[in-house]
């Protein structure tokens, strides 16, 4: 599925419906990747930072999520830019697919809308 996305750079609404709404973990992982390719541990650290320490991903949770998101076509493996210290060559890098980008945008819109409604009703 994601092969087709990558080659055609087209995102059908069916594909998008299949991945939306994003789970909070997927959402944060995608946000972390929006700045460019990352390796696993860097993703976990960035997610932790983004959520002010509320979401701390252990190795299993991290790669479990990465596996799932890869299968869903939200992310893909990226080539190792080879700039990261001692074990850099062994680390696997991940980047967002176009579907991932669209999904993140759609999810952000949805959350923003929901947040706006909430603020209106609360009168703030």
């Amino acid at each position: 599925m994601y092969t087709r996305n990558r080659t055609l750079h087209v995102t059908s609404s069916d594909d998008l419906d299949a991945v939306l709404p994003l789970s909070p973990t997927s959402f944060h992982v995608l946000v972390a990747m929006a700045g460019g390719p990352r390796h696993g541990y860097a993703i976990a650290q960035e997610v932790e930072e983004l959520t002010s320490g509320r979401l701390v991903m252990g190795p299993g949770t991290l790669y479990g999520s990465l596996q799932r998101m890869t299968a869903a076509g939200l992310i893909e493996e990226a080539t190792n830019p080879g700039e990261d210290g001692l074990h850099a060559s062994r680390r696997r890098y991940y980047q967002m697919t176009p579907l991932g980008g669209t999904a993140l945008r759609a999810e952000s819109e949805r959350l923003l809308h929901a947040a706006n409604v909430a603020r209106e009703r609360l009168g703030t």
């Binding site: 541990y41 252990g58 190795p59 949770t61 680390r91």
Partner: protein, 895 residues
């Protein structure tokens, strides 16, 4: 610990196998890399950090393992298993409905077993195991007793209690006390007698029970001035039944023992008081003790021990610390009041939750409840065996079905799963039915009234613990009776099974035979045990209690002190009663006693006998009662020597007493007791009569010394009238109550019954034991008979062909009958032998609960096995007769 990080890493690496293989193959390096990265973080270094890391990883595993497995399970796993289970359940329901008689028999059998277990467990749980309902942190509560030679759990006097309370604040947060007090309650023109509770002012605070309405008693205020705090707290139950749950009740006045009391509160609904077997309807403060007791001197009498003391330990205080503190108090008290503390050895501290009904019954309680749980456990086992047998028989019928399923590609585990689902469905249904049965039984038990007046309330209910117990028992039962048949079915040899041949019949019937033997043995064990109890009961009724024909001996208790009579008025009242009752034409003798023999209460007091030295630790405190003239005659107690009491034996002359033969033998041996002196209650008493030795506290007791003091010398207001009736006992009881009412219409009369009924209290344990075990034994017998019949009938039906051939070859019907009968009886005999051996062992265990009956009672050990064998013979005979009638031609054609 240098290598510890690597050990952690190695452990982590090994745990990776929890993930699906594909995931590990792809991500193992990354996972270990992430692990290394994490471990180097500052928060995960050091000892605490290491611990944090382990917890962090555990949490990670818990979330990620199911997540990574999910894809596979989505397709086949969970859904697939659920599908299988639903299909199995549907199939099981169909099977159950297809064979309604089978289902009914199996469910009833199992429900009986489960129900009795649940009921017995709720009784044991409610009375002995569960913490006191409504008490806050019941584990901090302890009961305090005083120890004297021969008395481990002695009660406390009011001054002693007050000293304990005031001198132990270092170990106890609160020290409270209580005792039962008979009350005459009047309100809205209605008077009734009940048993209330006199409690210290900090009683409710100690238990952490906050009144539903109003306030508790006030420590520091309502424990100060004797007689000045006429306030009362109603129990929740009494408030509802007697006052219609009137929300405005606080502030109202009721009359207790003739004195006005203001109601200041209603206890919370979940707090039933400090004991698990009674719910006192009314509480009054300790300072009112002397007012309630009709001029008694409870509050100041250091020697009058009737209070139970319950204390709450401080947090972190151990029993040992508490004990040390109490030891110190005892040493002080010995200095201060040498007369009162000479004998006291120690204090006994018992955790409230371990105390049960009363710590002195602890052994009997555990013994009895163990016996009961073992018995119902056995019964459940018999039921399970029976149901297993039914299932086994059906499994044989279903061999063909199983064979076909196996040959069609079903795995054996699928078939076992299917059969286990069936038995679990069974146990769930049976468990539900059993729970319903337990509820009914508990209802009966709760409404069961002791043959003694009082606010008895047994804390027996089906709470969540009982529910879990039942669920556990049901599932275990389902497993026990489901496993064996399931394994056997799955072992089926496909080819022969489809052909319908019974190639391994021998193995099958061996399993059935073992079950039959087990059943016979177990029910014999039960029946002999109950036989022993029944024989013991019979023996008990034949014990000479030391008085004549209890059926014609009538009793009624009255306490004019409850109505505020002082001693002079009380004496006049009792004189009038003696005259009026003896004037009744149906009454041939009448007397008064402060406590009739074989009741629950007994009094003892220490004596000195001039010329007799008590040995160290020898019991010098002996049982006694106060009686009027005429009592010895009315009871039909034989006078051995001297004379009985007369009306002239009052405090104007020298005090006289009567002792029993055992007393006379112990202190004066061969000499005559007449004219001898006994020092007791601060006076010297001259022995004027000796009577036969009877039974005073229990029918099973050894000969006990006993003293009779004249009621005219030592006045007590609460007495029982004892009258010997020559007419209809019920009419005489009626007349006596009318006479009391004629003397004072407000006077409550209680414990009105014949001596025979009164003795029921002494016989209660044996009666209960006999009845319960008898019912259980009969159930066991029925179950075993059904089991034997089922197995034999099935075996005959399986052997129709063989028997047909035998008949065709010339065997006569008698020899076929004999063949089948001897086979069945052989099983019964083996079972009987095993059961007898078990019963011999069990008899040793119950010996302590039997009255005068030998644990090797010949009747129980012959009659019961004979009965069982007879029943077994009948169960075997019916199928055997059918076998003998086999039509050879039909039988040969059938397969």
């Amino acid at each position: 610990m240098k290598d510890s990080p690597d050990r952690v890493r190695a452990a982590y690496e090994r745990l990776l196998s929890l993930y699906p293989r594909g995931f590990v193959e792809r991500y193992a390096d990354d996972l270990l890399q992430a692990f290394d990265d994490r471990r180097s973080e500052a928060r995960f270094t050091g000892t605490m950090g290491g611990l944090r890391l382990v917890l962090f990883l555990l949490r990670d595993f818990v979330t990620s393992v199911p997540m990574t497995h999910e894809r596979r399970t989505e397709r086949r796993g969970v859904d697939g298993i659920m599908n299988d289970i639903i299909r199995d359940l549907r199939f099981s329901v169909r099977m159950l409905l297809k064979n309604p008689m089978f289902t009914l028999a199996a469910v009833t059998t199992l429900a009986l077993g489960i129900g009795l277990n649940a009921a017995t467990f709720s009784a044991v749980h409610g009375l002995l195991l569960s913490p006191l309902p409504g008490a806050e942190d019941p584990d901090e509560l302890v009961q305090l007793y005083r120890e004297w030679p021969g008395i481990e759990f002695g009660s406390n006097s009011v001054p002693h209690y007050q000293d304990l309370r005031d001198r132990t604040p270092d170990v106890f947060e609160n020290v409270s006390s209580w005792y039962f007090e008979p009350l005459s309650v009047s309100s809205d023109g209605r008077t009734e007698r009940t048993i209330g509770m006199v409690v210290s002012a900090n009683f409710f605070q100690t238990f952490g029970a906050i009144p539903q309405l109003g306030r508790p008693f006030l420590p520091g205020v309502e424990d100060r001035d004797p007689g000045a705090h006429a306030v009362a707290i109603l129990s929740h139950g009494f408030w509802e039944t007697r006052f219609g749950a009137d929300p405005e009740i606080v502030g109202h006045t009721i009359s207790l023992n003739g004195h006005p009391f203001e109601i200041v509160g209603v206890s919370p609904s979940d707090f039933q008081g400090p004991v698990s077997f009674a719910a006192p309807p009314i509480y009054v403060p300790l300072m009112m003790a002397d007012v309630m007791g009709g001029g008694s001197n409870q509050l100041a009498a250091r020697g009058s021990n009737r209070m139970n003391v319950v204390a709450r330990l401080h947090d972190e205080t151990t029993l040992i610390r508490a004990k040390q503190s109490l030891d110190a108090v005892l040493l002080q008290l010995r200095e201060e009041y040498p007369d009162f503390y000479e004998d006291q050895l120690d204090h006994t501290v018992v955790m409230q939750r371990d105390a049960g009904i009363h710590p002195s019954f602890a052994d009997a309680q555990t013994g009895m409840s163990t016996v009961m749980m073992v018995v119902v456990g056995l019964l459940l086992l018999i039921a399970c065996v029976n149901v297993a047998n039914l299932f086994l028989a059906r499994a044989r019928d279903r061999r063909r079905e199983m064979g076909i399923r196996l040959s069609m590609g079903a795995t054996r585990s699928r078939i076992i799963q299917q059969l286990l689902t069936e038995s679990f469905l069974f146990s769930v249904i049976a468990g539900g039915a059993g729970l319903a049965l337990a509820n009914v039984t508990n209802g009966l038990l709760t409404s069961f009234s002791l043959p003694i007046d009082g606010p008895w309330a047994f804390n027996v209910e089906t709470d969540s613990t009982v529910l879990w117990f039942t669920v556990g028992v049901s599932l275990a039962a389902g497993f026990i009776f489901g496993m064996a048949p399931a394994l056997q079915s799955a072992r089926s040899d496909t080819a022969t099974a489809i052909k319908g041949e019974s190639s391994d019949k021998v193995g099958r019937s061996r399993a059935s035979n073992a079950l039959v033997i087990a059943q016979v043995a177990l029910s014999l064990l039960l029946l002999i045990s109950s036989g022993l109890f029944l024989r013991s009961l019979q023996a008990a009724t034949q014990i000479d209690p030391g008085f004549d024909s209890p059926g014609n001996l009538l009793m009624a208790s009255v306490d004019p002190g409850l109505q505020g009579y002082d001693e002079a008025r009380g004496k006049a009242f009792w004189d009038r009663m003696l005259e009026d009752v003896s004037a009744l034409p149906e009454v041939s003798g009448v007397g008064l006693t402060s406590s009739a023999p074989l009741g629950l209460g007994s009094s003892d007091r220490s004596v000195e006998v001039p010329g007799y030295e008590f040995a160290e630790g020898e019991r010098s405190s002996l049982h006694y009662t106060y009686v009027s003239e005429g009592y010895i005659e009315a009871m039909g107690i034989d006078l051995v020597e001297g004379r009985s009491f007369a009306r002239q034996d009052d405090d104007s002359g020298p005090p006289v007493m009567i002792v029993n033969e055992r007393f006379a033998d112990r202190f004066w041996g061969d000499q005559s007791a007449l004219g001898k002196t006994v020092r007791a209650a601060g006076r010297d008493w001259e022995v004027v009569g000796v009577v036969e030795t009877g039974k005073y506290n229990s029918l099973g007791e050894d000969p006990t010394e006993f003293m009779y003091f004249p009621q005219r010398v030592l006045y007590r207001s609460d007495m029982a009238i004892v009258a010997r009736s020559e007419g209809d006992p019920q009419i005489v009881l009626q007349r006596i109550q009318e006479l009391v009412r004629a003397a004072d219409p407000e006077m409550p009369v209680y414990d009105v019954r014949s001596m025979e009924d009164h003795m029921g209290i002494a016989l209660l344990p044996a009666r209960l034991g006999g009845a319960v075990l008898g019912i259980f034994g009969l159930l066991g017998l029925t179950l075993a008979a059904v089991g034997i019949y089922g197995v034999m009938a099935y075996s005959v039906s399986q052997r129709t062909r063989e028997l047909g051939i035998r008949v065709a070859l010339g065997a006569d019907r008698a020899s076929v009958l004999q063949l089948v009968l001897s086979e069945g009886l052989k099983l019964a005999l083996i079972g009987t032998a095993i059961g007898l051996a078990g019963a011999l062992a069990a008899a040793r265990l119950v010996r302590g609960l039997l009255y005068n009956a030998s644990p090797l009672d010949p009747i129980a050990f012959t009659l019961v096995p004979a009965t069982l064998l007879a029943v077994a013979a009948l169960a075997v005979y019916l199928p055997a007769r059918r076998a003998a009638r086999v039509d050879p031609i039909g039988a040969l054609k059938s397969e």
